[in-house]
């Protein structure tokens, strides 16, 4: 990629996630917690990735070997909060940006005009369009959270790393008279990472050596999805299984072909 197309930001804090695939059982608790936390409406129909709003989904990976050599793994996929997001620069109306400390890619629903250019730009399918107005069954709308506004049809949305939880953590720090920019590792954790029963999802500041993600992201077993594209995701994955790591990027497929 030509250098001019990269947008470089430097942030003091770089919120990041490290997901240990070898610990993910695909139980779906993160997906459920994400929907509840972020006011993503339920749909009585079976899940349709093409039309249903979703911020976090779990992919099932296969090593493509025959029984009994077969192996399977689960890969939860939030928004990658790319260091060099392919989505933000293309938005014609500045509805999505990567301009805030922490490096979370923002998505502003009342600004979005629904052109879907960002969706075309994102190779992770992290962005979804609201094809329908959101509907909760009668009474269930009482469980709407105050954290995220409901989105009308016609706008794009995506995972925010539960950005509101950072806001809340900063308020709490201010109330305690602490520096809101120096939070405890536990002060700000997205809903998916908080509920994960096996602790597969780690979260923290990738720049802060005191945070576990700082270390995990540098593990020899760490990889990011589609690193070859230059998106520089802030979501890392861990797996000790070679075949899983190879499925993180197309680079390996190419090499495999060369070797064979």
């Amino acid at each position: 990629m030509s250098e001019s197309m990269r947008i470089h930001h430097h942030f003091e804090i770089r919120w990041g996630m490290v997901i240990d695939i070898d610990k993910c059982t695909g139980c779906g608790a993160c997906v459920v917690a994400c929907q509840a936390e972020n006011n993503i409406p339920p749909n009585p129909d079976p899940f349709d990735r093409m039309r249903d709003p979703h911020w976090l989904i779990v992919y099932k990976l296969s090593n493509h070997k025959k029984f009994p050599e077969h192996d399977t793994a689960y890969l939860p996929r939030p928004c990658m909060q790319c260091g060099n997001p392919s989505c933000a620069s293309v938005c014609p109306v500045i509805a999505t940006t990567k301009d805030e400390e922490g490096g979370i890619v923002s998505q502003i629903y009342p600004r979005c005009i629904g052109c879907r250019y960002c969706m075309a730009a994102c190779p992770y399918h992290s962005r979804v369009f609201n094809w329908f107005d959101p509907v909760w069954p009668e009474g269930m709308d009482k469980t709407l959270t105050p954290f995220v506004s409901t989105r009308p049809r016609g706008v794009v949305e995506k995972c925010t790393f539960c950005h509101h939880r950072w806001q809340i953590a900063k308020e709490e720090a201010r109330k305690r008279g602490e520096n809101p920019m120096h939070l405890d590792e536990q002060a700000y954790i997205p809903a998916c990472a908080e509920v994960c029963p096996t602790g597969a999802i780690h979260f923290g500041d990738l720049h802060n050596p005191e945070h576990i993600v700082h270390k995990l992201a540098r593990s020899p077993y760490a990889f990011r999805i589609l690193e070859n594209l230059g998106t520089e995701p802030q979501v890392y994955y861990l797996s000790r299984r070679d075949w899983v790591r190879k499925q993180g990027d197309n680079h390996f497929r190419q090499e495999e072909k060369k070797n064979s």
């Binding site: 392919s86 005009i113 629904g114 879907r116 399918h125 016609g154 589609l226 993180g248 197309n250």
Partner: protein, 410 residues
């Protein structure tokens, strides 16, 4: 005929009743499209075939195609007013009308395509200067204004309007400044044709369309300009031929058409030279660098046949036909080559829009398939019908073809 006094002097038009039937036919298509449009606005975009994988579909293909083919307007204007190729004056009016229709049609489609049409003006009020789409929005809008200005003097030349001295005077003045408008239009068009290509070329998350480039412009920026100016003239010429066929009257000298074909032919050669070079570099350089192989870009729905059709059957073949004088001067072959050229550009815009989104980028993702629904077809056809309607009216009531009178004389 009740509308005789509006019809340009010295030309013959079909009976008013026959004209009404034609208009009525177009009206039905328009109505069908309007129903679809109302449905889309009322119910939302889920009534289309678009989904989270295919944020862009038929509409964007349609928009890109008509804008490419509408390039005949700016490029013919450029050749006529700036390079002073006088022969083209005989077809420039039609080129302007077609340009106007292509751009206004694209705008109508865009109003349907965006999820929040009531916020459409955000594109002007909150522009993101880094986005190629912003460049497109501004250029298209400005250029549509220019095209409207270019269209106005033609309207003012209507027999009845001309009687009003003020309007006549106005029309005359417009003509004087036409080179200026043509120049500005050329500049604007040049940029937005390019930025439409740039829109895709910058998508570094989509290996199929991503291209390196020059400064902030990926190679697709230049390729889209070239392909547009290569196909625009023959499209204009084809429409002229189509009108002749329908009305059964000679309207434009065949030499003018052949000239348009020649212009297109040479441009097409230049375009293909770079396009093939680009495709080669992409297949052997860009793709492997991103971890992909050429074969992975195609499947049974979006096959390599599309690529070979685009480059060979609808690229090299018509290019050759158009630059060989003997072939180009045979009407049947000229028109065939022109049609192939237009199809080639449409395929190009289609694969860049749809195939680009169908290809799995994540290794564990899967190919997706896009099938437009009737609402998308209806609204696209609505724009075609709207264009046919405007051209029909323009042909009937405006001096669209300066040569018409001369050509009717035996």
């Amino acid at each position: 005929m009740p509308d005789t006094q509006f019809i340009p002097e010295g030309v013959r038009r079909c009976p008013f009743s026959q004209f009404l039937i034609w208009i009525g036919f177009l009206g039905l298509i328009l109505l069908w499209g309007l129903i679809a449009a109302a449905l889309i606005w009322y119910k939302g975009l889920w009534v289309t075939g678009l989904d989270n994988y295919f944020g862009f579909g038929l509409w964007i293909v349609f928009d890109l195609a008509v804008i490419a083919l509408g390039a005949g307007a700016f490029f013919t204007g450029f050749l006529t007013y700036i390079l002073r190729i006088d022969q083209l004056k005989n077809i420039i009016n039609l080129a302007v009308v077609i340009g106007f229709l292509c751009y206004s049609g694209a705008m109508i489609i865009l109003a349907l395509d965006i999820g929040q049409p009531l916020r459409a003006w955000f594109g002007y009020w909150h522009p993101n200067v880094h986005s190629m789409l912003t460049e497109v929005i501004f250029c298209i809008t400005c250029y549509l204004i220019i095209l409207s200005i270019e269209f106005v003097p033609l309207i003012l030349e209507n027999r009845q309007l001309k009687k009003i001295s003020l309007l006549d005077h106005l029309a005359h003045n417009f003509h004087i400044y036409m080179p200026l408008f043509a120049g500005v239009g050329t500049f604007l068009s040049f940029f937005h044709q390019g930025s439409l290509g740039g829109m895709y070329g910058v998508l570094f998350g989509r290996p199929f369309v991503f291209r390196d480039g020059f400064f902030i412009w990926p190679w697709t920026f230049f390729l889209f300009i070239l392909s547009a100016i290569a196909s625009g003239p023959v499209f204009t010429m084809l429409i002229a031929a189509l009108i002749e066929k329908i009305t059964g009257r000679k309207l434009v000298d065949f030499r003018v058409k052949a000239l348009m074909g020649k212009i297109s032919g040479f441009l097409l050669c230049i375009y293909l030279f770079f396009k093939i070079l680009d495709t080669w570099a992409w297949a052997t350089g860009t793709l492997p660098k991103m971890g992909f192989s050429f074969d992975e870009m195609f499947n049974r729905h979006y096959g390599q046949g599309l690529l070979w059709a685009e480059l060979g059957l609808c690229g090299l073949l018509p290019a050759l036909m158009l630059i060989i004088p003997k072939v180009r001067n045979t009407p049947g072959l000229l028109y065939s080559a022109a049609i192939l050229t237009c199809i080639g550009v449409i395929i190009n815009r289609f694969v860049f829009t749809v195939q680009a989104l169908a290809i799995p980028v994540m290794p564990f993702d899967q190919w997706a398939l896009y099938i437009p629904t009737w609402t998308e077809w209806a609204t696209s056809l609505m724009v075609v019908a709207y264009s046919a309607l405007v051209i029909s009216l323009a042909y009937r009531y405006l001096p669209l073809f300066p040569q018409e009178k001369a050509l009717q004389k035996p």
